[in-house]
């Protein structure tokens, strides 16, 4: 039961990442302007990337605590 919840959470995170790093969403940020001196698209990619890793860490550790 818990195992399935973990799998489902991970799969949905993976799908979400796929959507955020794919064509229509990324096109929104496809502009040469600089934000805080950094190109918009570059900033977007790395911010999403960092958030994704943070969520992953939380998800994995939380699941571990509950399963052990």
């Amino acid at each position: 039961m818990k195992k399935q919840v973990k799998e489902q959470r991970l799969v949905s995170l993976s799908i979400l990442a796929g959507i955020l790093f794919c064509f229509p969403v990324m096109a929104i940020f496809n502009s040469p302007e600089l934000v805080w001196g950094i190109p918009t698209l570059y900033l977007y990619i790395f911010i999403v990337w960092a958030i994704l890793i943070a969520v992953l860490i939380r998800m994995v550790n939380k699941n571990r605590n509950s399963s052990e």
Binding site: K6, E7, L10, V11, L13, S14, A17, G18, F21, C22, F23, M26, A27, N30, S31, P32, L34, W36, G37, I38, P39, L41, Y42, I45, F46, W49, A50, L52, I53, L56, I57, M59, V60, R64
Partner: protein, 907 residues
Amino acid sequence: MGSISVIAISFCYLLLLFGIAYWAEKRTVSGKRMLSNPYVYALSLAVYCTAWTFYGSIGRASQTGMDFLAIYIGPTILAPVWWIFLRKMIRISKVQGITSIADFISSRYGKNITLGGIVTLVCILGIIPYIALQIKAISTSLDFLIGSEAARHSSPLSAISNTPFYVTVVLAVFIVFFSTRKIDTSERHEGMVSAIAFESIVKLIAFLCGGIFIVYWMYNGLGDIFGQALAQPKLRALLTFNSSNGFSSWVSLAVLSMFAILLLPRQFQIGVVENVNEQHLNKAIWLFPLYLFLINLLVLPIALAGQLSFQSNVDPDFSILALPLSEHHHGLALLIYIGGFSAATGMIIVETIALSTMLSNNVLIPLIVGIPFLKRIILQYISKAVIYIRRFSIVVILLLSYGYFYEFAEGYSLVSIGLISFAAVSQFAPALLGGMYWKQGTKTGALAGILFGFAIWFYTLVVPSMVSVALLPQSIMSEGLFGLSALKPNALFGLTELDYLSQSFFWSMLFNAGAYFGVSLYTKANRQERNQAELFVNVFKYAKAYESSVVWKGKTRVKDVRLLMVKFLGAHGTKRLFDQVSKTYGVKLADEDQADSRLIVHVEKILSGLIGSASARMLVSSIVADNEISITEMVDVIKESQELIALNKELRLKTDELKKASDALALANTQLLKADELRDEFLYTVTHELRTPLTSIRAFSEILHDHPDIEPNKRQEFLHTMTKEIERLSRLISQVLDLEKLQSGNYNIHPEKLSLQSLIQDAIAPFKQVLADRHIQFSMQLEEQIPDLMVDRDALIQVITNLVSNAIKFCNPDHPAISITVSCHADQVHLQFADNGPGISDADATLIFEKFFQVHGQTPSATHGSGLGLAISKKIIELHHGHIWVEKSEIQGANFVVSLPLNTAAS
């Protein structure tokens, strides 16, 4: 910088690797395993980042901007579901003793030799250039570091060009030493993995140091670099995707890298074979993306800085080295060089181990074991032979790579070769992923898919590179094969919308997956394939009892198995293995006994780790069934156990049903008992009711009999009372009969169209006299225009008679009053019979319709009736689909209401 010192440092670094690997193996002996540390596992996975990442990403970023990131975003997107895919691959490999991707695919499709061989060849063809690329990176970076201005633009084959060769040789020694000392490839390479984890740290630190120096020392931070880049139209274009091609290449790169992270031989080696604990994935899932994040953070700024500083005068692949060198920071450049060196060597080490395992276990050993003559000779020295074959494979792989580098690696940037490799291993995706989740996939389907995909990959990616080095005529590229423009490698079937890589990927995957699924659906798997399919797809179900879920039907003696294993493990190792098996399964393994099938399966698994699953299967079947491969004899135990589970389920279902049925039975029984009780009570009441009038009749008749001289008017009175009692008796009996009929459902009503008014008149006619005698005030109100009803005349008259006689009985004796009201309410007609008697309490309102109910304390004994009238009335009204109830009347007594539906046409 002095060339001697740089070369010396390079070799010192290699020595350091030796030291770390040796130290880690020493620790293993003393029980402190490096591999049981999840961080070592997660870091060693970063072998994904090769010299291609270290140098090549910068080169690609200089040309096409941000799309290189897709190669690292892809694995990041996939990382969360490693817990599902990779864990399954690890479990399958552990259970089956699988040691390479070729073995994995060949095992899944019935341990097929051809399939394993083809996968190996595809890997070798696809990945040799990739290894060559690492050597090229080492060579070029050396040139940058050592060379004069002239060397930077000259070929790598300058005076120091022998260094790459010596590096290759040292690596070969390292790999041979740390991967082939033990014969068992499924044993983990503790030392090698620890060295790789160390290299991952080195390359990350070196890259970040270089990046920070360039961005914050040479330039004034990210804002400065991006600001300057924005001012130049050429560099400005690198900061966005161009709308037409950018996204399709981004998507195909991301998907390609998702496949690569699972399917590259080195990733399989580290991620699956070297994994000791599935729980380590929990760390790797986030640590690996974090590693990719860090190593990519500064790539674009470095690339832009390179372009800003050199204006394309320097190979952009090596900007990270050239920039510090241009400011004479030799120490930093050396650190960066070592970082790139570690990225390259790490890749070469792991990839060579993986490829050599495939080459020896899936091509060379099956060839030897498959030829009876060779087999007989080599079996004598098999354990030595296996080790030499593997060493030979390592040398062959490295020599091929070095040869490729020497001959061809000139014309290519790092990234393009890497991507061609990615595309090659992606061809395994349908057969491998399909095989893990789809039982119907067959060997023929897998073969067809891989061959189709490989052919298209070769034509669209390798042929162009052969044209570019003039191995093939230029006309193929410009006009297509045989002059057919649909066959242009760069725009196959006229697809010009996508870039060369995306269109190659699209077509090869389409044909590959199409052939795999299509052919699988039209071919039949043999028993062994089905067996393996079941074991792969449902690995988590069988993992614990793998040995008992496969059965060898063939018979052999324990002695034969022992003799076979002695050749591989030696007498001592074999004894230990047999002891362990007999302890686990509680079987005695005497030489002359017939071998337990679990022993044979276990032995086959051990052999798979040593020489690959296909050869292991051949060897075992050769002793088990007299050179006859007894695959067809294998009993599909799994099928049976599945059937057992299904049967169990059915049984449980049946039990549930049975329980339900018995519950229902118990309920019926209690109902029956209750009905019985009620019946007894009923009988008791009836006999009691019958006895009362009988007793009085008997008493009077005895008096008349004993006293013949009784006065005539007294006698008359007695006779009158007796008649009354007899009437009461007969009424009671007919009522009991009526009730019986009503209850058993034999009471038939015969509805006819009747006027309610005349019905009531008829019913109350017999009461006229009584009403007048007792001076009862009687009123009747009939609403006009009441439609005729479909009712049974006699039955309804009985009801009305009953209610009227009740009203007469119970009305106020001093000022008796009764009223009958008939009114229409929507689709109902209400007949109300009211009196001014004591009324019925709420508690009794429903009980009075029960049989023999008497309202206590209110009934004058003289008038008391049978107690059946209301019960019968209720039944009759219900037969007419109506209702009967009692409420407080307006004139202080009871008001019985009969409600009949207007359209009682039926019934």
